[in-house]
């Protein structure tokens, strides 16, 4: 099933990509026709498209994403291997912020429904959802880096370099998860089994976490898988703004460069990653909600 999805993604991206006018060696500086022909021949771009497609598939089967067309002598596998630590680090930190701040903020808001804590958290969260991350990033960069010199404007040389990219990256999802946690918990708090738990004389903390949060987490976990993937893809823009040497920057550049193999390679990487996250969520789901069982088991 996952292999089929991945195959469809590869096929679609491959042909869509080739449908864009221009090629990797078309540029303002006109190359001599002989050189362009030689380059095309070297990378197999002169062959019929179905042949290129088949040989690309062959490469995929051996986990070879091919050579980059724009960086001579660099393979796409290496591009990803070099960029991944940076993207993964910022992504992981952003995810940590989303979970470790978003969910508790949602709980605080839900437990203090319509009081000042709730209104404040929700006002900020609404802004966080409404303002695009690149706007937030640019404003933050201007204020904290340029005006007040609190953090560096680019690079990840020390921990201060991480603050703005991680904040910009997590802002939207942090707000989103806070809002979702609040509404999810509020719904659970109104359920009959919560009254039962109180009627049994359980401790309020047991009631909140064991009975409340366990149920409230189900819709949150559903979203968290795609959130992880989104944090990575969201980093396309953020990496560009903060000039971070991650995968996302290569991806943005590769599209305008028509660097076919890089586009393909990163797309496949992200698709596979997203599918892995969804699989993890499905497995987590079964742990949280006993009503969901694997098809084979029932």
């Amino acid at each position: 099933m996952m292999a089929l999805t991945l195959f469809l993604i590869i096929t679609l991206t491959f042909f869509l990509m080739h449908a864009i006018p221009g090629g990797p060696f078309t540029s303002e500086k006109m190359l001599a026709p002989e050189i362009e022909a030689a380059l095309n021949a070297k990378y197999g771009l002169d062959k019929p498209i179905w042949q290129q497609y088949l040989s690309y598939l062959q490469g995929i089967l051996t986990f070879d994403l091919g050579p980059s067309f724009k960086y001579p002598g660099v393979r796409v596998n290496d591009l990803i291997r070099e960029g991944l630590p940076v993207t993964a680090q910022t992504g992981f930190l952003a995810m940590l912020c989303v979970v470790a701040l978003g969910i508790p903020l949602g709980i605080v808001a839900a437990l203090n429904q319509n009081k000042w804590q709730d209104t404040t958290i929700m006002a900020v969260a609404t802004m966080g959802v409404a303002i695009p991350s690149y706007v937030l990033a640019t404003i933050a960069l201007y204020l904290f880096a340029l005006q007040w010199n609190l953090v560096p404007t680019f690079g990840l040389d020390d921990w201060r370099g991480y603050i703005l990219p991680v904040a910009a990256l997590s802002g939207f999802w942090l707000s989103f998860i806070a809002r979702l946690s609040r509404s999810s918990l509020l719904e659970v708090l109104g359920q009959d089994y919560m009254v039962t738990a109180r009627a049994k004389g359980l401790h309020p903390q047991t009631i909140l976490f064991k009975h409340g949060m366990r149920n409230a987490l189900i819709p949150i976990v559903t979203v968290l898988g795609p959130v992880v993937a989104n944090l990575l893809t969201g980093s396309f823009v953020i990496e560009q703004i903060f000039a971070l040497p991650g995968i996302g920057r290569h991806f943005v550049l590769s599209i305008s460069n028509r660097d076919y193999t890089t586009i393909m390679g990163i797309t496949i990487f992200y698709a596979a990653f997203l599918m892995l996250m969804i699989l993890i969520v499905d497995l987590l789901y079964m742990v949280l909600d006993p009503r969901i069982k694997l098809a084979e088991k029932s």
Partner: protein, 346 residues
Amino acid sequence: MSSAPLLKVDNLTTHFHTSRGDVQAVRGVSFDVKPGEILGIVGESGSGKSITCLSVLGLLKANGEVVDGSADFEGKQLTGLSDKDLRAIRGDDIAMIFQDPMTSLNPTLTVGEQLIETIVAHKPVSRGEARKRALELFELVKIPSAASRLDNYPHEFSGGMRQRVMIAMALTCDPKLLIADEPTTALDVTIQRQILLLLKDLQEKLGMAIILITHDLGVIAEVADRILVMYGGMVMETGDVYDVFESPQHPYTTGLLDSIPDVRSHKKERLTPIPGSPPDMLRPPEGCPFAPRCPHAMQQCLEAMPPLFERPNAKPTVHEARCWLHHDDAPDSLKAIFKAPEAANG
């Protein structure tokens, strides 16, 4: 009044604060429950019967507040007690079961765990011992193959079985008082009877008292010793179950009894509903809350709240009704409706 009451509720008044004003859900309700008796509380939706019991246990929603009155359990004031002290009583001395066993059990925990956590919360026992106790309780409420069922989740049980799980959960600490809030309403008719008989059986075996909240007079007739008829957040009539069924002293009770279909009657009869609808509890009427719907209402009924009048020649159990027709000044022609209960039922 042979023994001291287990629970004594006095002038209990509960309001819900809403943006439109205070909803006066319970307005000065007084009653008591003796050890080992089954008290039935009847009334239609919104009559305050459930809220009365939730108030006693401090289980009201955040906007609910007991503004007056008291609930006294074995000499201990429940109203105004701290949450910590109330917790020690809930699920231990006073347990509660609810209307809908589909939604009253946590779907993500095994039923065994839901029993065990209750036992562990109140008794100094290990989880292993608690599990043994849970198994005993499952057998007590007659859940088939109890041992293997402990590790099932609520969705793996039928409605009737879930209600048995709820009952088992309520009995974990041998409560002295069980509050059953419409325990059979959400169940099939055949299952309803099984659950009722189980409750009655358990009450006799364990000697606990039960407050049975229902809108079904048939349920009350089946198991209750005494009855409390509520309307508009107040007690309309109270007495021994036979007294009240034989000679109801309030037009509302009469109306409730008349609206029960008689399956034994061979005549094709229409049901006799009570016309009108219950009062708006945001602005309850000054007089008798039932007066606007009462076929015998007098001018006085609309203007002043009637007190509870005691029926003079009742048996040992007090039989009272909140109706101006029992006042000495009420016209004899109207008083006559209570004097011939058989005729009223015919």
